[in-house]
Subunit: 306 residues, 3 copies
């Protein structure tokens, strides 16, 4: 590889960042590696290993490209890279034991790779003329979308959606840093380096200092005691609005008596157990209130099929 | 908000329905609210809450826009709305206790929101020149696609796919009502109002009267006694066709004896436990036949990895 | 149906394969059938049955069309076929008992259908000017993507990702056969027939001879004894690279001492249990090493929400 054009392209001052193919290849291959290791962990076969590897590496970019609709799909642009990815998946599948001793190396490579994905997503959105908000969002989607899709593809809740060390937060932070600098007219090379650095640092610090996102915010706990009172007054307002809507609706639906009938019926019909989008959520917290730490029942709130 | 241009735009008789932004905002924000409450219910962290909220609100529209391929993606068209959505997700995440007492309000808002999503999906398909069937389908996908994607994203079977009060049925009904009126040259404003009204009524009635979709149709039970006889005769036809195909195929594959060999082998190889798309389905009903009410075994028909 | 134009179109020597609509209809309807039987198996309601049927039949094609971005979406091109599919879903839902005795017929129809889907995917990619690699990939995605999406939509790990008789392998084989012949300038009709034949044969033989993909490759087992040694030497290289990266990084992050601090901390912080993409994979094999056959713990490596 000749370094001169690479450096030239890095420091050209156009408003378009040419990421050298070697950097693209690195981030994609690390994505494939982590995806394939994930598949081996779940004891998938070679088909699942290849699919999981490709999904992890390309999933975020595919999501970005589909949402952009007319700027090409990166996945289809470089068939040679796909061949290398497939070969890597085969290697990981058959020699999985080798990676048992490379934990920390994989961790660092992955943190770097997420940073490069955030850069790739944000810089493409910036070039395509999206605004600040969409640039940040596209960067974040590209950086962690692949991992999330991989988790979903085997029926698990994505790790980034759960209480964990920073991962999506790191991707979002790097994406925001790139966007800020890019829209402030900083050279894109600088913005890109800062982006990768921010992602890597956030990810590293989060593991080093054991920072975690929480699923049970302190604020919520503090406010819980006051929530009943405030909730009740809100409920009163809600009920009044509801009563008005209901009575208007009831005229059309079945001529009055709605609110009363609903109230009378509620114990019998056990509304809270109803399956349905808005309803089941709304009904949940009250049901769970008596014991906050109680494990979720195995039926997961689903009704038994009748 | 000035009412005059809003009313003007509502009653302009063009073949294009201008939905005021305030209505769009309402339906998206209610979608975000239900998605975020769902995430709190599953104890996701803030990343999961924002992702779940956005997916619920925009998922149906994104699916519609991707299938249309060249009419823009609504999700990327209004970054300000996304910022408001994210703020709402943070509010729900930290003040989830407040919504504990607003069950009924959330239920009504959600029913209204589904109606507005059905309208948004069907009217965009109508404007883009799709026919009756696709307009109805796009309306239904837009109305309930977000909730289904949200359920899938945390590894659950979507609630709308299971025995439950009408939800997808309501979205489909409203979408069909809009399409019927729109193709009958009714003013689109009227069609839109009817659409929302039909969705809201179906959803409300379904909960009020406890109407549910079934997963075990009565027709099937009635016919079960007769099924054996009819099934056996069909099987006989099927077996004959199969025998013919097999013998033709066998000539190419390994020179005869197929059918016999397969029969001889079947007990040993336990075909019914084979994993595979067509096969596992086909094998299922017979396996389940002895006890119709028996709970599904925990292995879910998957083979143990060997 | 008049046979003459059909045969004419089959043997026209253009570089474009006109697949007769009857063949398209057959493969889509068989896909719908297997999807609807799958839904009945999981006790979904009629909404889930229709969604599962359509997803199985069209999912692969939709994935292909979205990745191609500007060559139309097959799903939206033929509303009449969708109506027939929905009708078939209703039939399967209410008369599911009839299919209990048609196992083998469904198996053969499904194998044929997968072959035709592989052909449809590969031939469209070939016509659109994609190269060898992408043509093979698009063929494979189209042939088995629908089944995989259907499995994911109900929160299961796709069957094709697990140790099983050939399914994705068959689709891939047929797709590769078509691509090879097409790029060698063979008449596309011949390539198409070979494609379907290869898929059908691979699927059939795989069940007949009980060939299965494995999730625990023999190679890996043989090499396991040697893995420790090789792994340790690789680890040593990895650690050295890591130490270099770390010390460079540490200068920026918190002025030295990184590697040492990390090592000191590891037992206390229990890095291996950390949730996170790269980390959890990397950490896994070592944890599992003591008992290779031990069943996966029920927590699936997820941390308890705190």
């Amino acid at each position: 590889m000749d370094a001169a054009p690479l450096i030239d392209s890095l420091f050209s001052d156009g408003r378009m960042l040419e990421i050298p193919w070697s950097i693209d290849y690195f981030s994609v291959l690390v994505g494939v590696l982590t995806g394939a290791l994930f598949a081996c962990d779940r004891r998938l076969d070679i088909v699942g290993t290849v699919a999981s590897g490709l999904l992890t590496a390309y999933g975020g970019g595919i999501t970005r490209d589909l949402l952009m609709q007319s700027h090409g799909v990166y996945f289809t642009s470089d068939p040679n890279l796909i061949l290398i990815c497939v070969a890597l998946c085969f290697f990981v599948f058959y020699f999985r034991g080798l990676f048992r001793h490379l934990e920390a190396t994989v961790f660092f490579a992955d943190a770097l790779s997420v940073g490069l994905f955030a850069l790739a997503g944000a810089s493409k959105a910036f070039e395509c003329g999206y605004g600040v908000v969409m640039t940040v969002i596209f960067g974040a989607i590209t950086s962690v979308g692949g991992g999330a899709l991989r988790d979903m593809s085997v029926g698990e809740t994505p790790g980034i959606f759960q209480s964990s060390n920073f991962y999506a937060v790191a991707g979002l932070g790097g994406s925001a840093a790139f966007t800020l600098l890019a829209f402030l007219q900083a050279p894109l090379v600088i913005a890109g380096i800062v982006c990768v650095f921010v992602v890597f640092s956030l990810r590293y610090w989060s593991v080093y200092f054991d920072w975690k996102t929480t699923s049970d915010p302190v604020l919520s706990q503090h406010l819980r005691s006051g929530a009943g009172k405030m909730g009740r007054s809100l409920k009163s307002v809600g009920q009044r609005a509801l009563r008005f809507v209901s009575s208007v609706v009831a005229v059309f639906l079945h001529a009055g008596g709605t609110e009363k009938a609903m109230k009378a019926q509620r114990p019998k019909l056990s509304w809270r157990q109803r399956k349905g989008r808005g309803w089941s959520q709304a009904g949940r917290p009250e049901r769970e209130a008596p014991s906050e730490e109680a494990p979720k029942p195995p039926d997961g709130g689903h009704e038994e099929p009748t």
